[in-house]
Amino acid sequence: MAKAENHEPFIHISKRDVLPWYKSMGIRAVAILAALVACAIVTMVLTGDNPISIYAAIFRGAFGSARKTWVTLQSMSILLLISLALTPAFKMRFWNIGGEGQVLIGGLAAAACMICLGGKLSNGVLIPVMIVASIAAGAFWAFIPAFLKAKWNTNETLSTLMMNYIGIQLVAYFTVYWEVPKGSGKIGIINQNGNEGWLPQIAGSKYLLAIIVAVVVTIAMYIYLNYSKHGYELTVVGESEQTARYVGIKVSKVIIRTMLLSGAICGLVGLLLVAGINHTITTTITDGQGFTAVMVSWMAKFNPIYMIFASFLIVFLNRGASEISTAFGLNHSFSDILTGIILFFIIGCEFFITYKISFRKKNGKEEKAS
């Protein structure tokens, strides 16, 4: 008996049954608390600053004034939109990590319209042209790897990733092509005086447009994924291509269709970034959000509603982080450390939600005694 027990491993990991929602939320809440405690310890050890005041600064950074709140909501909308764009592809188990490139190409198309057609067309004509161009450009950029996958079953992780670099270099090329003044390596604000091709302000607010678009797309995506035939088909393809074929779903068609949608929304984000927010194009305009969105989408388990919280959390931490560096004169890297710690705990806790850890019991007697 005792002999047999010694062969039992000390730690045993097994998959859990699905946890009730309050338990899984409880684990997440504990993870966030643990993350905050870990951050507090790191903060005190490294800087000697009071962690409570640092948390206050993080909050101030995101919501310290009306403007900051608007900017937080706007940035959150952009990240949410890219996450939503990637989600149908992920749900289909198509690893679209090309969001960065698809957004950039959409933005480049918008910028091209603003530069080449600005002043030639009135805004009433120019803006619809830009919308079509951006969406088409983003969709096209996603279509290429989708087509390769559907036709020759190429590895989409590599092809979407590589398409990012082509996109970035194309933007770099056109930055030099359109730069103002010559040799400076930047385009600057496009049509600063006439505002040709600038997306309109909604109710006098610079920030509202992206937020409204995000709300609409979130609802639409939720319905699309959960209540439409397309959404059902792509879920089946994601679960098992064999099953999908067996029930008569044309897999290659679903792959291409889903990626076109994914790229189109990314293109729309490019339009918002270029024509609605920055009014310029640079290689760094997406700021790595095409990759951050991958994390958001996965953290939210492809659920558009959870994605609102996930993107909020990341933007909140980011904005707070830059406030810390301003308020405490700390290097920006320090806030990145804090963000890293918090994300580590949040992602790590998913392990404890999915799996159960059981320790070996010493022997039957003690078990009874305790």
Partner: protein, 414 residues
């Protein structure tokens, strides 16, 4: 099992108590600090609050130079200030400027060329706040009362640093380390933009004024701050046979590459002597304190800040660091003499008698001073036999973009 749980729980609680205790102490000390700061601000007469927007942080030599000047000027004047670092050249700059204005700053300064358009946007929105921007080109055509450009005649500082480089070349020739024909310098530039061209040309002219056989190769990185590219650029130049390196890009890439290779280096934005003790010759930099003080004075006196302000050697804006151990003998004397000549107006860096373009002297040049849709020359800048850089009536930011003989450009993709 239960015992362990209880133990862990009690430990957590005890730790929690300690943490709470220390936190409240910290709070108390913070409050004390806050109240003393308030006390200090009551004493100051000035009603200026300054806000600064910087592209990078103290790891960039360029931004560090601004950071130090901002702190020095504000502390000297007893002015409250707020600094935002790592602000990219995009909408973030506009948001940062607006946040500073929301926080009560009435003087807002940005340090990077690409910040300009976004500063203008913010300036339109906050007409009562003074917006100042270094290296920008648009203030004189934008027509905003509260938007101003500033720069300094750093080409004069570069010329003086070039003299130090030329003296070093002469020393190497005399010591037999190189022949006269091998007196080739290397220069790591950021972009093929006038500010960079003006900088390396004046550096080269300074060197050639004491070492007539000097030539120079220039490579571009396509970024104002790219440590790897700058290091590789410097290494490439060294492999090409350059015996002395200088740079106009903001990281420590080129100076550290020189230190590793043992090649003398003239750096920019501040001394790199501590990191490169064996190869550092000298560094020129713009001291921004005089400009900030000028702006604060204007605001205190209720006078307008100049649309285009150009600092000079005389205003204390163009300065050289102390010489490093690699500098040749007699360098300080040569620099002092040339500096005095420049101040007296006897020496013009871009004297058309000292350089040629495609083998011919330059007698007339239309520079693109106004940033507008047609990138054409719009101002005659050859005045009294010299190219009038950052001159009266033009603009503060450089516009010298001639490719003079003796300098070869390796790659002009940027």
């Amino acid at each position: 099992m239960k015992k362990i749980t209880a133990l862990v729980l009690s430990l957590v609680m005890a730790l929690g108590l300690v943490a709470c205790g220390s936190a409240s102490e910290n709070n108390a000390s913070n409050n004390a600090q806050a109240s003393t700061e308030q006390g200090a601000s009551v004493e100051t007469v000035s009603n200026i609050k300054a806000g600064f927007i910087f592209l990078h942080d103290e790891n960039s030599t360029y931004d560090l130079n601004f950071l130090n000047a901002a702190k020095e000027a504000c502390e000297k004047a007893g002015i409250e200030y707020e600094i935002k670092t790592n602000i990219p050249e995009g909408q973030e700059c506009y948001e940062a400027a607006c946040e500073l204005a929301d926080n009560g700053c009435n003087f807002i300064f940005a340090d990077s060329f690409g910040h300009e358009d976004y500063m203008i946007e913010a300036a339109k929105e906050y007409p009562e706040v003074q917006f100042c921007h270094a290296t920008g080109t648009k203030a004189h055509t934008e027509g905003l009362d509260n938007y101003h450009n500033a720069f300094a005649s750093i080409y004069e500082g570069r010329y003086l640093a070039g003299i130090a480089a030329g003296m070093k070349l002469n020393e190497m020739i005399e010591a037999g380390e190189i022949t006269e024909d091998q007196a080739k310098m290397g220069y790591v530039g950021a972009f093929t933009y006038a500010e960079v061209i003006s900088g390396y040309t004046s550096f080269f002219l300074g060197a050639r004024s004491v070492c007539p056989s000097a030539t120079m190769e220039v490579t571009f990185t396509g970024s104002w701050y790219d440590e790897t590219a700058e290091k590789e650029g410097a290494n490439k130049l060294i492999e090409n046979g350059c015996v002395l390196i200088s740079q106009h890009a903001d990281s420590m890439g080129a100076p550290t590459a020189c230190e590793t290779a043992g090649v003398p280096d003239v750096s920019y934005n501040g001394s790199t002597a501590s990191a490169c003790p064996n190869t550092f010759i000298v560094s020129s930099r713009i001291n921004w304190v005089p400009y900030f003080e000028y702006c604060f004075d204007c605001m205190n006196n209720g006078t307008a800040i100049a649309t285009d302000w150009s600092g000079t050697i005389e205003t204390g804006s163009v300065v050289l660091t102390d010489l490093g151990s690699a500098a040749a003998e007699g360098t300080q004397e040569a620099i002092d003499a040339a500096s005095a000549d420049i101040v007296a107006g006897n020496l013009h860096v871009f004297d058309t008698a000292t350089f040629t373009v495609d083998g011919a002297a330059v007698t007339s040049y239309m520079a693109d001073v106004d940033t507008d849709a047609n990138y054409e020359g719009d101002h005659e800048v050859i005045v009294d036999g010299y190219f009038s850089e950052s001159g009266e009536g033009f603009r503060s930011a450089p516009y010298f973009n001639l490719n003079i003989d003796g300098i070869s450009l390796l790659d002009t993709a940027f």
